[in-house]
Subunit: 525 residues, 2 copies
């Protein structure tokens, strides 16, 4: 019997990092490790300080990532009873846009004595919301100059993205901006530590940036690169050369080999030096390969409090209101589309709270109702509309109530509302010429509400598949690590072959459109 | 000291009759009597029968009215310690359209042996809903023939009105229709019993019909009378001569003297024969004089589960969607307008039930909110829209919700929704050239929710007054009895003088528009 060979997926979340040791032959999870970051989300006061941080700050400690990744990697390997020599690749996913300023040797600026007490020198977590004014300015100048890249983001740059956070630092902590030699995503920093570090030994020549993070969060495009010097100068004169002087690195797609595990990093993880490491990927996007989706035109819906939908396509179209279309954004060789619905689970929770009933009770009652919720229709914009309108000021609605309308009809209507919200997104993509043929639902909601999945299947008039893995994101990172190892090592001749071998859809659970339900629904109207 | 002189108001409701003995000098209620009808609403089975009535049937027993009115009149007089010789007039209000077929001597057909077992020979209560198909036909033929009177009812004849109930009888119990010598409103029948009966001694020459009931429920108009023979023939050949052959009687306005108390009726009530009796009025409409409203352009809002608004005007205009405009419909000499909102208290109750909180709790929380309900707006059409759209198929809505929207914001928004519904009605009247200057709120809701009244004052930008009387309907009937007695007896030189002497608005409670609230509301938008 051949010894199994493994890929390691490192999944950096908001509160903790998770490592999976995965058999590359079939995707079996051989070992698992999870570790909470020592300092978690830093949003009250800076370490060793009593000064309260502003309410919209959310920072992280880079050493937490390094220390925790050592723990989880070792414990996952132990659980797998795997030998280090059988690990063929490493993949890394990370929250985004979580970013930080460093020196050219990889040292985070916040760990330089001079800056320890300066909040904006620390790593800013994705949900750090300090850059409101900066975001407005970045959007305003882009609109005024009619920047061509704006359309790739549905016309709006987000508060949580990369350059708003850079500009916030330039405005509010200019010496941090001055001293920063490298501005980069945390995922890219982590990969840099693995292939060239850990700091302070990193070489800037070994720095690789992910096309995923750069494309979705930093307005980068394979054809035209980052926004122009002229644009940045118009935003702020001192930002003009930010790309040329402070953003070194080579861009690579997730699944491409960013480098090999360095001796020092191998020591930290108790692995062998030289193992291929994939370019990083945003955590949500790792869920695409992790859900067993290799082919274009299959939408992966990550459904939780909000929903994020990702899809690869061979076709590039500037679709209205998408959160982003990025070449090599999810998998190499494809245009990756990201769209979203701003409140899904949150909308159901709002209804449940408003009517004072539990999700369990409401699901049970709503499941007994025919489609159409007795004529009640809901608009799910309780947190604004992301795709396709990209307007956070919009709000939700219920119409069609009578004196006989019951709470479960409102609840079901809200479910139907989110389903029609998704149908609108799918039709917007299709009308723009981007095919969208298959659907796969992951995240927390599908397991919680089979009714919701059935409604989606009915409304989309399509089968909805469920990934086999409960951890599609970390699994996706491991798959990318395997792909980075290359055909000669893994025997997989294509990305698609690797994905299909390592991740699958459930065979025992497929939501199919119920023709009778569709008929009843038409009759009810 | 002069002995006080009294007028008696007889108020026939759905379940009981109420008598007030009222001092005509100042409207003081000297005595009161209430009695439940022995058989109440007959909606399960006919007396002495085991055959179930159809679900939409609601009948009454005419003898209940006669027996109960004797009891209440006597007990009110006893309580007042009033002498019969000091009673100067009697007024009668009645639910409408409650109607019945009789012989020419006043005998209800249902009391003739041959018909006792025939449900449709009995008095049909206002909420008897058996005439659905007949209502459709009556409306359809009116529209096809472009009948000019249809516009006086907002373009729609109601299911509960007079001719639908007659036609239902013709269709489903033709022998009842054949044998009926007189079809009339219960209020007119009761007045006939007082001035010429009780049956079987009534003379058809003494029969007086109220312009209120005839105008609002039987398509009668002072200028053109009832619909034409040709119209009725088109509805049903055998209905052609219904007015000429089965609807004798002289039309008089409420407050006009229909006749004098007969000897036999005086015995029944233990009063003196010869007392003037006013023509009948619909119960809701009696609330206009009972609320102290004598002048035109003052809207009396009767606010309960639904709202009914009545107003006298010197001007006749066919306003879209009004429930009726009737000359002499409420008080002699004016055009009486009736408009309505189909769910008001019912809409608040629906919200309370849906969110699982009490009205008390919701009122308390909603009162602390600024106007505008945090951006939530409600459409109160949970039971359709009466005025001005006259469409029972319409339904309600909430718009503007976010994840932070609280139940009390939905509740307050519904209050604001009904206020704007009323504002729309007022503007519809004004735009049609019918002035609407003052507002008076009666019914159950104003006392229950001062917040609601304040919202109405703010939205209407007008003071809202509250009638002093808790029983404005029965008081209104008494005032009409006083008016019918005439100037020589009462000393009142005008209807207006009598109303203002006997009914007033509260001085201690006036809802005034809160200019700051209006400003906040504008700022919130």
């Amino acid at each position: 019997m051949l010894m199994p060979r493994y890929s390691i997926g490192l999944d950096f979340g908001t509160e903790s990092v998770r490592a999976l040791v995965v058999d590359i032959a079939d995707g079996r999870i051989a070992g698992r490790g999870v570790d909470k970051y020592a300092h978690g989300v830093i949003d009250r006061e800076l370490l060793g300080s009593k000064v309260a941080l502003p309410a919209d700050y959310a920072l992280q400690h880079p050493m937490d990532w390094v220390e925790s990744v050592g723990h989880v990697c070792k414990s996952a390997m132990r659980q797998a009873k795997a030998e280090a020599k059988n690990v063929v690749g490493i993949g890394v996913d990370f929250t985004s846009c979580t970013m930080l300023p460093t020196l050219r040797d990889g040292t985070p600026l916040c760990l330089v004595d001079e800056f320890r007490a300066v909040p904006l020198s620390w790593a800013k977590l994705w949900k750090h919301h300090g850059a409101k004014e900066e975001t407005d300015r970045i959007n305003q100048i882009a609109r005024e100059r009619n920047e061509p890249w704006l359309a790739r983001y549905g016309g709006v740059i987000g508060l949580e993205w990369f350059f708003p956070k850079v500009l916030e630092t330039l405005n509010h902590a200019p010496n941090v901006y001055d001293k920063a030699e490298v501005w980069l995503e945390a995922g890219d920093w982590l990969v840099w530590q693995l292939v060239s570090g850990p700091f302070p030994r990193c070489s800037v020549d070994a720095l690789v940036r992910s096309t995923c993070q750069a494309g979705y969060k930093a307005m980068w495009n394979r054809q035209s690169g980052y926004p122009s010097r002229e644009y940045f100068a118009a935003v702020h004169p001192r930002l003009a050369d930010v790309v040329a002087t402070k953003m070194p690195g080579k861009l690579m797609a997730p699944g491409e080999r960013a480098g090999s595990l360095s001796e020092a990093a191998a020591e930290l993880l108790e692995l062998k030096a030289g193992i291929p490491v994939s370019a990083a990927i945003i955590d949500a996007h790792a869920g695409v390969p992790g859900a067993g989706v290799a082919s274009p035109s299959t939408m992966v819906m990550v459904m939780g409090t909000s929903s994020c939908h990702m899809m690869n396509s061979r076709i590039e179209q500037l679709v209205p209101g998408i959160a982003g279309v990025v070449e090599d954004g999810i998998l190499p060789g494809y245009f990756g589309y990201e769209t979203g619905q701003a409140s899904v689970g949150d909308a159901f929770a709002w209804v449940a709270k408003t009517v004072g009933l539990s999700h369990g009770e409401l699901n049970e009652r709503a499941a007994k109702l025919p489609p159409g919720s007795g004529g009640v229709m809901a608009l799910d914009w309780l947190n604004g509309c992301r795709t396709p309108l990209m307007d956070g000021r919009l709000s939700g609605a219920f119409v069609g109530m009578t004196l006989n309308t019951r709470p479960e009809q409102l609840y079901r209507a809200m479910m139907e509302g989110t389903a029609f919200g998704l149908k609108w997104i799918v039709e917007t993509l299709r009308e723009a010429g981007v095919p969208c043929r298959r659907f796969c639902a992951s995240g927390g909601l599908p397991a919680k509400s089979p009714l919701l999945m059935q409604i989606y299947a009915d409304v989309l008039d399509a089968r909805i598949r469920i990934p086999e893995s409960q951890e599609p994101v970390a699994l996706g990172a491991a798959i990318l690590g395997c792909i980075a190892a290359g055909t000669e090592v893994t025997g997989y001749h294509s990305i698609s072959q690797a994905i299909h071998a390592m991740a699958r859809w459930r065979e025992d659970l497929v939501y199919r459109p119920d023709l009778r339900a569709r008929k009843e629904s038409c009759m009810a109207v």
